[in-house]
């Protein structure tokens, strides 16, 4: 039986029997992977707490290709991200990121850039105080890296760069309608040009300068609502863990 070796970040785990677990992780090389881990639930298990959500591991697993359940043969920890478990806001935000990744990824679909985004976001989440900006960056970049990159530069109708104070963001197409083309029956949500510029920054800013990006009061809510609604349109439902985030920021 072939062996697979890759890096993985744990998304979720379920009890299978008294002694074994099913662990779902997002891997660098094989997309989402589901593995059975025998003996993981025993109190003296050599795995300990390695299968807790957001733990980053080196894993070796085996099974026939393209089946949906593999056997985990070996793992060791790369980064446990345990600081996320010491603080309620960081912990719930980590869960939100995990659920987003889980919703956007599928088995056997490699997305290495998304893997790096996830790792980097958890890394920054351990220490940054600018959590709401990090959430927006994570939401928008996950959307973009999953093939739903929004088109902020030109109007869907006239193809010109928007210059007016207000524009509409159209969720289904991920595009914008400029002020000149807008009328009362235009679809989408009205936002200001200022918000649009922040959204562009969210898509391009370097993670290392995240602490320099702050949203003005009032606009932060508009940006949060927009990214959240866009995400919801794409995955077709609200993330279960979003209510924890919403309570903290809206």
């Amino acid at each position: 039986m072939p062996l697979f070796k890759t890096e993985a970040i744990v998304l979720q785990r379920f009890n299978l029997t008294e002694s074994s677990l099913i662990v779902t992780s997002f891997t660098r090389d094989f997309g989402k992977v589901k593995c059975v881990v025998k003996g993981a639930r025993k109190i003296k298990s050599r795995y300990g707490g390695r299968f807790e959500p957001f733990t980053c591991l080196n894993i070796i697993y085996s099974g026939k290709e393209h089946q949906n359940l593999y056997i985990l043969n070996h793992c060791d920890t790369i980064r446990p991200f345990y600081n996320l478990r010491e603080d309620y806001i960081r912990l719930t935000t980590g869960c939100y990121f995990t659920e987003i990744i889980s919703s956007f990824t599928r088995e056997a679909e490699k997305n290495e850039e998304l893997f790096h985004l996830f790792f980097r976001a958890l890394d920054i989440l351990e220490s940054t105080d600018n959590i709401s900006v990090l959430i927006r960056i994570f939401e928008m970049r996950t959307i973009a890296l999953s093939g739903y990159s929004p088109k902020f530069d030109s109007c869907l109708i006239c193809k010109n760069e928007p210059k007016s104070k207000y524009i509409n963001f159209h969720f289904q197409s991920g595009g914008i309608i400029c002020g000149k083309c807008l009328n009362s029956s235009s679809p989408g949500r009205r936002i200001t040009l200022g918000t649009l510029n922040y959204l562009k920054k969210v898509l391009t800013i370097n993670f290392s300068s995240i602490d320099r990006l702050r949203f003005p009061k009032g606009q932060d809510k508009e940006i949060a609502l927009l990214t959240q609604m866009y995400l919801k349109t794409i995955i077709g439902r609200e993330c279960k863990s979003y209510k924890f985030i919403a309570k903290q920021e809206l």
Binding site: I43, K44, P53, T55, P80, Y88, C95, S241
Partner: protein
Amino acid sequence: MKYSDSIAKLIDEFKRLPGIGQKTAERLVFFLLKEQKDAVRGLSEAILNLKDKVQSCSKCNSITENDPCNVCSNPKREQKIICVVEEPHDLYAIERMGEYHGSYYVLMGSISPLEGVGPEEIQINRLVERVKKDGIQEVILATNPNMEGDATAIFIYKTLKSLGVKVTRIARGLPVGSNLEYADEVTILRSFEGRMEM
């Protein structure tokens, strides 16, 4: 050949129980068929009694046949100390140790952001009320050492700390009888954090 209605129905009922599949359910049904009527009646009454007599304690939520439960109504137990656990079976595990003499509070779950279970869905409010009303001196958090248990413990700590009550959490670390060599990084870290002077 298909099973008759009564047999098929009981097989289906057994299959709803945890850990019981078709084969085991069939074996149980055929075992009961061979039993004396009294024995079968005894079993069904015991099951019905469970729902009629067993209730949850109005003070600590634990399962009991009299309210308040034997722990909450025992004057020898230190009622000003509360140990918070996730499920009733956690309480029994601590009772088996026999060295804890305080009272309990059973949350009947844990905060699980990935499942959308928040503080409102488990009964944290009633714990807070009890801490205020009964002049509780110490709250011992004995939630599981996993992500959900951590979330629950930090949330309760955040909620209670303004009340001036002492909040402690049971130590997390190496299981007795295990090997340091095989322990994962987080377990070793917790063991160091929880080290004690000898």
